[in-house]
């Protein structure tokens, strides 16, 4: 009897450890593999428009056919990144993700109130120089001090109907993503 109690308790303890390990650590391996797929899809600090969403393999999980996507892997360890994008008349957003897939920041067209977004992603851990700002940020630009140096920017443009696909696709394709040279 005592032996059965021992093995039962030991099994429950092992199950708890396995459960917590699966919840806390295994997904990090999966998202790491998923994010690595972006590395082969485009050079760093370069914006790529994704092909129209359709059947077959996709770099995104559960992509929406109603959205035109663009993405840009970033590395801001040396220089900040400037994302410059025209904003169409329909819904549009830009999101910043960490290299572990965590959503850090999102802004959409209704929040920007401008026709063209200039988003500067800078290393938030770098100290502000004495008597000066981190960057010479142009007026109407948005500065996002990122807690991570490596990650992913994703642009999403809503395609209201098929007749507008080409317009939205070209809007996303005309966005740029490049290191911001010092002033």
């Amino acid at each position: 009897m005592r032996r059965w109690v021992f093995w039962s308790v030991a099994t429950v303890l092992l199950a708890t450890v396995a459960h917590l390990s699966a919840v806390l650590f295994a997904p990090m391996v999966d998202i790491g593999r998923r994010m690595a797929a972006f590395e082969t899809a485009a050079p760093v600090n370069t914006l790529r428009k994704m092909p129209p969403v359709g059947p077959g393999p996709s770099i995104l999980v559960e992509p929406s056919p109603d959205i035109s996507y663009g993405f840009c892997r970033f590395d801001i360890s040396a220089l900040p990144l400037k994302v410059s994008a025209p904003i169409p008349d329909s819904y549009w957003s830009v999101s910043v993700y960490s290299d572990t897939g965590e959503n850090l920041y999102t802004i959409n067209d209704a929040q920007t109130g401008v026709r063209r977004l200039e988003l500067i992603i800078a290393d938030g851990s770098k100290p502000v120089p004495e008597g000066g700002a981190i960057l010479d940020v142009p007026e109407d630009s948005i500065l996002y001090p990122s807690p991570v140096r490596y990650g992913l920017v994703v642009l999403r443009g809503f395609i209201p109907d098929r007749s507008q696909r080409r317009i939205i696709d070209s809007t996303i394709a005309s966005a740029t993503c490049a290191p911001l040279a010092p002033a």
Binding site: A15, A22, D30, G56, G101, T106
Partner: protein, 195 residues
């Protein structure tokens, strides 16, 4: 059975039972969602704490494990349906009506995915309907029909015989909806006929 064999057997049962129980319970909690983490509303389920600093480990694991690049619930709320309104798994052999009233958000869409998360190829190149393009009644109500057989109206063609699921995406949802995920009026998913 010798004493050594019995001990080896006990250890094997202990390892397989413990690891199996732990893994299966974690897999269920991460994919389906615990009641305390995921919100259900009819056929639909959503993860309301997605993309928040305060997100619980199960929500984080759900999105990291599936590789989904999530956005905050302010930006978009995504509901997933794997069952119809009677609780039966969605089957590609059957015809379904996804029907409801206009949803309080800037725009929304209904999309069909196969069980692996891919879109289902069809000659019409049609995988979803969004609120802007779909045909609706004068009162704003709508029906999207998912069927392997040609249908009038908002038809999403499917083929195959496996399970599938639906995603209902609501962008910039009104507070009346985002603050009442479990009680808001969402579309019903009704099975019509099966081949």
């Amino acid at each position: 059975m010798s004493s050594n064999s019995r001990i080896v057997l006990q250890i094997l049962v202990f390892l397989s039972g413990g690891i199996g129980l732990g893994y299966c319970s974690a897999d269920y909690a991460m994919t389906r969602g615990l009641r305390s983490v995921a919100v259900s509303n009819g056929s639909w389920t959503t993860w309301p704490y997605v993309a928040r600093d305060s997100a619980d480990p199960y929500t984080r694991a759900h999105f990291a494990g599936t590789g989904k690049l999530a956005v905050t619930s302010y930006e978009a709320i995504t509901f997933r349906a794997e069952i119809d309104s009677d609780g039966r798994s969605l089957d590609l052999d059957c015809t379904y009506d996804v029907a409801g009233s206009a949803l309080a958000s800037r725009w929304w869409s209904v999309t069909v995915y196969d069980e692996d998360g891919g879109l289902i190829a069809n000659p019409a190149d049609r995988y979803s309907f969004n609120s802007t393009e779909m045909s609706r009644m004068p009162d704003g109500s709508f029906t999207v029909r998912i069927s392997p057989v040609a249908q009038p109206g908002n038809w999403i063609p499917v083929s195959g015989s496996n399970a599938f699921y639906l995603l209902l995406r609501l962008y910039n949802a009104a507070p009346s909806l985002s603050n009442n995920l479990g009680g808001a009026a969402l579309p019903s998913v009704t099975r019509r006929a099966c081949s």
